[in-house]
Symmetry: C2
Subunit: 121 residues, 2 copies
């Protein structure tokens, strides 16, 4: 099952962004940008940490999005993983990833792409 | 935010394993082994595909577990990501990963470990 997994580490995210600190705001953003990217949402779970921080995942028909925020460090990690069962979803994954990055505005970022699955040899 | 991310691709998983095909069984397994590994569950979402296949995530205080099954190909992908905020959770992540592997019994596997986060340079 061929697929692509985008991994981001975002530093220096502005503390005043509501999506960075509040689970309800981050959930809405993730669902909105996943659908706008053309991906199919089949479930989600978000958790608000106290005093701060959010962790959440969106289940996609194409695989998943996972995001974790640490407002005390200005830090976020993001995973967007899509499989390419019926069609190549790589461009949709990239669109989702970049939409989240635009919303959370990291000053510095690390990024890597991993190929998942492939032939059973 | 230092962390470790374990990625598995499992091939040749036996079709008769209930956890491989049924969302309720896979959810119970994931929650049980996450807790048994000493990790803290803060939420979850699982989805049953029709006619087959399951996708699910468990939110952890330490980050997340994500799993996708494709019974028609005998194939599973697994992600276990833990951050090491207060303590090194790497051994717990490894324990969780190996418990899932024991349950789903792949005949062949690929495995990689990725370091997440680290210093903001």
């Amino acid at each position: 099952m061929d697929g692509v997994h985008l991994l981001g580490e975002w530093y220096g995210c502005p503390a005043e962004t509501p999506e960075f600190t509040r689970a309800d705001a981050l959930r809405k953003l993730c669902l909105d940008v996943a659908r706008a990217a053309g991906l199919t949402v089949v479930g989600d779970a978000f958790h608000q940490f106290v005093p701060q921080g959010v962790t959440g995942t969106v289940l996609l028909a194409e695989s998943h999005l996972a995001i974790h925020t640490w407002p005390e460090y200005g830090f976020v990690t993001v995973d967007v993983y899509v499989c390419n069962l019926a069609t190549d979803n790589s461009a949709k994954a990239e669109r989702l990833f970049r939409a989240l990055e635009s919303a959370l505005k990291p000053q510095r970022a690390r990024f890597q792409t991993i190929h998942r699955g492939g032939k059973d040899e």
